[in-house]
């Protein structure tokens, strides 16, 4: 795939559990093209989150190679290259929705008028323009996840990694969040890697993969 923005070759990762070495990933090959959406399903404990952590550069593989777009996967590039959405939202409770979205830009540089305008625009796009000044505690689960999606897109990343983003939401709200996520990625040309247990959500992506015995296969 020539326009791959994510490329992994033979990624392997194992953990020590007591005296036992558990090989979670046994050579994962994955390429994601710009603007493409890919879902990864798998049983609990199959290593989906571990794989996402490796792809995001938050964790390092024991073996294998990983590249982002046209360069290496480096922690310094992460904030600009990719956005992340987690199951537990991870919003900062002391600051409002607008500031939570802006925080992604703030970590890269002091936010100016352009960044503030983009944060407002993203909040409006996820349907929370009226809730911008609300603290996370004043938002519902679905609203919090929508704030997290807006935050993940704040720095216009090339790739969005979503780790079971609907895991803490009811079915209806989960469907809405996935629809929003896919729409936004399509609109902005952002590639998406979605880890999910939900077959229906997975089927909405361009490509469905299954993680089994440490390797990816077509689902």
């Amino acid at each position: 795939m020539s326009n791959a923005i994510l490329s992994s070759r033979a990624l392997a990762k194992s953990y020590l559990s007591g005296d036992r070495c558990i090989e979670v990933l046994r050579g994962v090959d994955l390429e994601v093209a710009a603007g493409e959406s890919v879902s990864i399903r798998g049983e609990s404990g199959s290593g989906k989150s571990t794989l996402l952590n490796l792809l995001s550069g938050l964790d390092t593989a024991d073996r294998g190679a990983l590249a982002w777009a046209d360069g290496p996967a480096l922690a310094d590039r992460r904030a600009e290259f990719l956005g992340m959405v987690f199951q537990a939202f991870y919003l900062i409770p002391e600051i409002d929705a607008f500031q939570n979205v802006l925080m992604a830009a703030r970590i890269l540089r002091a936010p100016g008028a352009a960044e503030r305008a983009r944060a407002k625009e993203l909040l409006a796009r996820v349907g929370l323009a009226e809730r911008a000044t609300h603290l996370p505690a004043q938002l519902s689960g679905g609203e919090r996840q929508r704030v997290a999606v807006a935050r993940a897109l704040m720095n216009s990343p090339k790739l969005l990694l979503a780790d079971e983003p609907t895991g803490n939401l009811d079915e209806h709200t989960g469907d809405a969040v996935i629809a929003l996520l896919l729409d936004l990625c399509r609109e902005t040309g952002t590639a998406l890697v979605l880890v999910t247990h939900n077959v229906a959500h997975a089927q909405k992506t361009n490509r469905q993969l299954f993680l089994r015995e440490g390797k990816l296969s077509h689902g």
Binding site: S49, N53, S56, L58, D59, A75, D76, R78, A79, E80, M84, F86, A88, Y90, I92, P93, E94, I95, D96, Q99, M103, A104, R106, I107, L108, A110, T133, L135
Partner: protein
């Protein structure tokens, strides 16, 4: 504003939410330490300042004495007047006497003063009652310390008998030297127990007669131009005085150096000991921030995932210690100066409750609790407190920086 600074402020003082309990307790702990430091060093400073004021008000800035009597005080005064920085001089004679009134004897120190010149050097009139009594002082009258007058049972208009040690010398030569009868024209009140109890004032002439000094005096009090260093001026005066005259100038600082040293030493020790209150408060800041690091482990992981560097995460917690220090210092200063403002009311209530008003006056000499805040101490308190609080954030900062984002995000 860098994100770690912004987040440090928001975590301590979140907008739209109730003031966090841990912030309030941490700030209060530091504030109490600062308030106690400000109050104690100011009161100790007040004692020192009051003593300085009283010493200068009763002795002048510099005192010149001879090995014996100064036989020609006018000549010495003329020499002193030529020295730049000397603005006035006044001669004095002094010594213990016996004063008797209504069969009550007292043995104070009697000071002979030059009524025409004394006010140029010592603001005596400020302390003498009734107003104008100092101008009424002549060779047949006396001004008593307020407590001395009480002890003698003497009032304005009373007549007291004053006898000097010269009577004993005369008696040895089979001569009779009768006590001198003086009329009380007023009393002075410095507010200092020792002075008000054991000093009386007469004219220089009367003192010279009582002690048989002729035209001699025991010394001269010197007033300096405002703002001059008393020690430097004393050195200049000593250099200007002819060695043959065997005269020695000493500044009020030098005359009271032992007492001033003890006062300064006590103040420094008190500052050092009370600083430990701030150190203890800093431990509570450390403990609170450590709890915060544990509580916010997943948030710390998120910040790492968003691109925050470990040193920036560390700075976020270090700045929380700094801001607690700044807020605690501000609140502590307000609290400290507030208490100092009403200190006399507090002391009054305390002494009334404990019925210790008389004891306070006897042991502490002053009617009002003095206060003087030395700017150097204030700077040391502010810098010391903020520094210690910032250091208190170091351990939590180090713990936070050590967290790996992937593990922090996974933590339960």
């Amino acid at each position: 504003m860098p994100w770690y600074l912004y987040l440090a402020l928001k975590q301590l003082f979140p907008t739209g939410r109730r003031f966090p309990f841990f912030t309030a307790i941490s700030v209060l702990g530091v504030a109490l330490g600062v308030a106690v430091l400000v109050i104690s060093t100011s009161v100790m400073g007040g004692f020192g300042h009051k003593i300085r004021e009283m010493t200068v008000d009763t002795q002048g800035d510099v005192q010149v004495r001879g090995d014996g009597l100064i036989e020609t005080p006018a000549e010495v005064q003329a020499q002193l007047a030529k020295i730049p920085g000397v603005i006035a001089t006044t001669p004095f004679a002094e010594g213990p006497v016996a004063i008797m009134h209504a069969q009550k004897p007292q043995f104070p120190a009697l000071q002979g003063i030059d009524v025409t010149r004394v006010s140029q050097v010592i603001p005596l009139a400020r302390y003498v009652h009734p107003a104008g009594a100092l101008a009424e002082l002549d060779d047949d009258s006396i001004i008593l310390g307020s407590q001395l007058a009480l002890a003698l049972g003497a009032r304005v208009g009373s007549k007291v008998e004053v006898a000097s040690p010269l009577a004993y010398e005369k008696f040895k030569r089979d001569e009779i030297f009768l006590p001198r009868e003086l009329r009380v024209v007023g009393y002075f009140e410095f507010g200092h127990q020792a002075l008000d109890t054991s000093v009386a004032l007469v004219t220089l002439r009367a003192m010279q007669d009582l002690y048989g000094l002729g035209g001699g005096v025991h010394g001269l009090n010197v007033k300096l131009a405002p703002g001059l260093d008393p020690d430097a001026m004393t050195a200049r005066i000593n250099a200007a005085l002819p060695p043959a005259a065997r005269l020695h100038a000493r500044s009020w600082l030098d005359l009271n150096q032992d007492f001033l040293f003890v006062l300064q030493f006590e103040r420094n020790i008190m500052f050092f000991l009370l600083m430990f209150i701030v150190v203890v408060a800093a431990f509570s800041v450390t403990s609170s921030l450590l709890i915060s690091v544990v509580r916010k482990t997943r948030e710390i992981g998120l910040l790492g995932a968003l691109g925050g560097k470990p040193r920036q995460v560390a700075a976020c917690f270090c700045f929380q210690g700094f801001f607690i220090g700044v807020a605690g210092t501000a609140v502590g200063l307000a609290l400290g100066f507030g208490v100092l403002h009403v200190r006399d009311d507090i002391v009054e209530i305390f002494t009334k409750l404990t019925q210790s008003e008389a004891a306070m006056l006897r042991f502490y000499q002053f009617r009002h609790l003095p206060s003087y805040t030395d700017p150097n101490y204030l700077v040391a308190i502010v810098i010391g407190t903020i520094g210690i609080s910032t250091l208190a954030g170091l351990l939590p900062a180090w713990r936070a920086a050590k967290l790996k984002p992937v593990e922090a995000l996974r933590s339960e």
